[in-house]
């Protein structure tokens, strides 16, 4: 690390600072200052009328005892628990495509397509697919299954939402894994073949360990996506319901801040989300640092 900072003359370093300054400035104005501001606001009963009173840690205490917030955290935990699947599935697909399945390029393109659609469009599509008289139920009826209100029943709504999120993001992960797979040397796979490794053993003992940095990267990106990019889907598909079945912290913050006119309380919830995110970011930095050392 210290080597890297010693490269270049003083003049070059000044230029580097010059180029980095705007980004830093934007970061301070649009990220750090609002963060501090929100932190301050989380100790007030601010509302959108503009009055604010200091209430100490009241908002935090309320949040901890707020069943809706508790549910949203529980939902987040469920969401995060699906993360391994959201990493493994694209990895396996990428490996199969890389193996040279006929039409692999076609699959790759098809998988990637959803990744370029906005969550509102994805939501609109799946509204049609998943609603009670939607195409999924029509399809299942062919096999004699009863219709299920996928988005309207609390037992399936979160699962449906997770499935849609998976559908709309895994193409990107497939692409990242495909890129990673091209860096796995062919000769060590051949050596493993000679050593007696069958297809699945080659995956398990050689390919997957070689992909470890990629797996960690995709895991971080997926986690960040789950924590911050679900809003659009929730908004379009379920509105957080039924009840609190699909209410996520992000959505709740938006509700509290806008709809329920409690920016102070929303700010306190944001602080919780921020701490969660900071934990992920910390893990991410640790992982990337360790990979850089290998």
């Amino acid at each position: 690390m210290s080597d890297a900072t010693n490269i270049g003359s003083k003049a070059e370093k000044r230029i580097a600072v010059l180029f980095l300054a705007p980004a830093l400035l934007l970061l301070i104005i649009f990220r750090l200052i609002p963060l501090g501001w929100g932190f301050g606001m989380s100790f007030t009963d601010a509302n959108n009328a503009g009055t604010a009173r200091w209430v100490g840690a009241d908002n935090y205490l309320r949040a901890v005892n707020d069943p809706t917030f508790q549910d949203s955290v529980a939902n987040t935990v469920i969401l995060l628990a699906t993360m391994p699947m959201m990493v493994m599935l694209p990895m396996l697909l990428a490996i199969l495509i890389h193996q040279g399945v006929p039409g692999g390029k076609f699959f790759r393109a098809v998988y990637f397509l959803p990744a370029v659609l906005s969550s509102v469009i994805v939501g609109a599509i799946f509204n049609v697919v998943l609603r009670y008289d939607g195409s999924l139920n029509e399809f299942l009826a062919v096999f004699g299954f009863d219709a299920v209100d996928w988005l309207g029943s609390s037992s399936t709504a979160l699962g449906a939402l997770i499935a849609v999120q998976l559908w709309s993001t895994f193409g990107m992960s497939v692409l990242i894994f495909m890129a990673g797979l091209t860096t796995v040397p062919e000769d060590i796979i051949e050596a493993a073949r000679i050593d007696g490794a069958r297809f699945w053993q080659r995956l398990w003992f050689i390919v997957i360990p070689s992909l470890r940095p990629i797996i960690e990267f995709v895991a971080v990106v997926t986690t960040v996506g789950l924590l911050t990019n679900m809003f659009g889907l929730v908004y379009v598909l379920t509105g957080g319901g039924p009840g609190t079945a699909t209410t996520l912290p992000e959505f709740l913050i938006w509700l509290e801040q806008g709809k329920l006119n409690r920016p102070g309380y929303a700010a306190a919830l944001s602080m919780f989300l921020f701490v969660m995110m900071a934990g992920v970011a910390y893990a991410q930095i640790r992982i990337m640092k360790r990979n850089a050392e290998v």
Binding site: P185, D187, I188, E190, A191, A192, R193, I194, D195, G196, A197, Q201, F205, I206, P209, S210, R212, V294
Partner: protein, 352 residues
Amino acid sequence: MSNLTLKNLKKSYGAVEVIKGVDLAITPGEFVVFVGPSGCGKSTLLRMIAGLEVVTSGTIEIADRDVTQLEPYDRGIAMVFQSYALYPHMTVAENMGFALRLAGHAKPERRKAVEEAARILQIGHLLDRKPAQLSGGQRQRVAIGRSIVRQPDVFLFDEPLSNLDAELRVQTRIEIARLHQTLDTTMIYVTHDQTEAMTLADRIVVLRGGIIEQVGAPTDLYDDPDNAFVAGFIGSPAMNFLPCVAASANEVTVAGLTIALPQLQTQLRQGESMKMGIRPEHLNGTNGPSVAMKIDVVEQLGATAFVHGMLGGDLPLLVEARAMRPKAGDMINVPFDPQHVFLFDANGDRIR
């Protein structure tokens, strides 16, 4: 009995045929070297034997079993790659024991086999390191160790020394020879370096453009090449080739000098154009016919010197001079023994 038999083996990539019908029988314990210029198909042939390349036609038998369609791991072979191909996330011991682990051997048994191989290769102190913490030579040993542990019927080496520096290359070459003596297992070794081929092989297979040019013991290829390609490829520095014309049934004229070749069994047709080959080390006789050469460049090695010069102004000739200290610009007489002269026809085939 034969340990490995190739029958009319062919391989095409699309419309391009790169192995054009190879027949070869290798006896148990033999050290066979495939040698030839880059791109002649040595690696492809080796990889076909290993089962890493699909065979287009022909058969491969190992230990009297047709393995043409078998997976690599069912063929009883082990391979050492040019790039070593060590598993980067495993320690040396794990690398070496991987095949046994896959075969379901218990850990203590694996450890014993690994330690035994490590002892032979003197890498016992490296067993707990990762490949990234090893030097090139050490990685090479580990790669060889990994192949030993499996106790294969046939060892395959694909240019295993080409990533080592010159000194290490010579050392490792000797060690591979020693290993062959110790293990007494069939080894097939691919190289483009004729010195490696000469020093290691029981038998050399010279390949060019996907076909075998000649098979034989190193000294056979050196003393009695079948064609100009083999004659030029085997031996270092390479053989001199000079255009010549038949002067009678057993005499040729080269650079104005007519020499008798009593060893010829063939009757030459007078006036036929041919190529004459003679090795640089055979151009330092003391009597016999001689040609006069003007020296261009001298590569002085002390014990010997490689003298580059011109015959009659336009025929380049390389002479290995042992007992003299020639200088550039000098004219010297180069006597030679006609016994060492090879004749080749217009196609490059040997005239015996």
